[in-house]
Symmetry: C2
Subunit: 324 residues, 2 copies
Amino acid sequence: MNILVTGAAGFLGRRLIEALLLRGSLTDRTGQSRPIEQIVAFDMVELTGINDPRVKVVCGDIANAHVLERLIDANTDSIFHLAAVVSSQAEADFELGMRINFSATQHMLERVRQLGTCPKWVMTSSVAVFGGQLPEQVPDNQVWAPQSSYGTQKAMNDLLLADYSRRAFVDGRSLRMPTIVVRPGKPNLAASSFASGIIREPLNGQTSVCPVPLDTRLWLMSPAQAIRNLIHGHELGSEQLTEGRVINMPGLSITVERMIDALRQTAGAQVAERIRLEPNQAIERIVGSWPGAFCAAYSRDLGFTADERFTDVIEQFIHEYQPG
Amino acid sequence: MNILVTGAAGFLGRRLIEALLLRGSLTDRTGQSRPIEQIVAFDMVELTGINDPRVKVVCGDIANAHVLERLIDANTDSIFHLAAVVSSQAEADFELGMRINFSATQHMLERVRQLGTCPKWVMTSSVAVFGGQLPEQVPDNQVWAPQSSYGTQKAMNDLLLADYSRRAFVDGRSLRMPTIVVRPGKPNLAASSFASGIIREPLNGQTSVCPVPLDTRLWLMSPAQAIRNLIHGHELGSEQLTEGRVINMPGLSITVERMIDALRQTAGAQVAERIRLEPNQAIERIVGSWPGAFCAAYSRDLGFTADERFTDVIEQFIHEYQPG
């Protein structure tokens, strides 16, 4: 199998590549398990720290058609398309968001269509496609009403991928991901960045700002679970995708208050006290428009899975990223 | 008011221009009624037969960025964007459909954004954005699941227009139209073309083919009602659009069998006998994926209206297009 991973130097991209290397094989679109021969790890910055002869690191601008032509060829069996500009950034810079989050996807799909090879394609969508008046638990047939440019761009990708799949130009699966928590590293420009920050920073002995009300309900998935589901999404046969190519992932529904409780329970009261409540209306407006719970019946039927306890999610983070 | 109408030589475009000329004024985006000074009537073929000094006929390719630059300038107060390639054509020629139905809209919105003038914008969307498992009456919060490239392209336009409106690049309204019946003229490549054909051709003394089962339920709107709603959609103030910019229009829900009954009632049994049942699976697949009835609560609240009796719709057609 020849695999392309975009956004390879990002948090999920790197973990996905590590998991694929460990796994060693994937199912091709004829249903046959085949060894992974090459993973093209593409990003605008260089993926470092993975030393495996199967990995070919490539840097470039994903919105550049010439770059895409070299990136995707007739030998590409599968594409994991993770590259994106995060929500607050797409809101702050409309042109950048459109270029990276939408046009690049459109160009990649066009490249694949012109090749005529119909590779497997797994990409991440977002709960940011939803908004407006929402029921407490969002059903699979809920209308899309994005309240951000990021959500709009992801929804347009979903529509394109579904149509390209219907026409057999690509064998696509778009996984609508919950907020991934706990991310390692530094805060980023995602409106949801605080959801990792309020766990990660206190564990690192630093204070962290919570910009939304304590009763804000979030829909979460741990990094390990996200990788499991990305690979599961790839492995499914197209004949199983009876309800379409855009799949609301299962997740863990929890309020910010309960997240902090779980941190207190796992790491102690003095750690949890490092969280400072500091309302930020811009972030509250975006995050508040995202649903806090989903039905996700289709994805559960397809065998996708969710985290069960947030304390486990915190322990996973401590185990993987905390020294000692 | 300086107005641009795309698809001006089409059936709806021509009627809209006639109605606007008769009306003489429109409400600008500050809420002020102003006389119509100019209507730029744009299409790939020349609009003929309307002789009014306020109308400027322009021909060209709507997907050409240079054409758009001349078409839309800082004086453009309102845009009625009706140009499109019909459903069967977009299905048969994927590239053409993407170029005319989606890319042209995207380029026009970009032109408007770069001008920074935030004109009013009314466009037609389609019930073809819906598909898959649908309730008997489609609610306003039904997920979009297009089963055709045409529906996909229209849904992408809707998403873009909503985001451009949210960011105040444009003051947009997308009216999700039922199938417009009875169209004059000849059959076209729309999958729904038969819905006019089974009324129009028998009235003209010709036989007509019905390619779908008699119990197929359609969601219809007469041409006169469509024009009324397009102008109503323009006249609404943006502060009234509390549930978003994409509005499922009200309509008349009726089976093909009842349509034929109405024709028999209005024009006699010998006319209705000119309809031949000839199943066509390709058309049945597309039309069968469209919902036959909508809740349309939002649009009714906003004052959009529907036809009440199909016999009236037929009589409207006879009155307007039948000699004698």
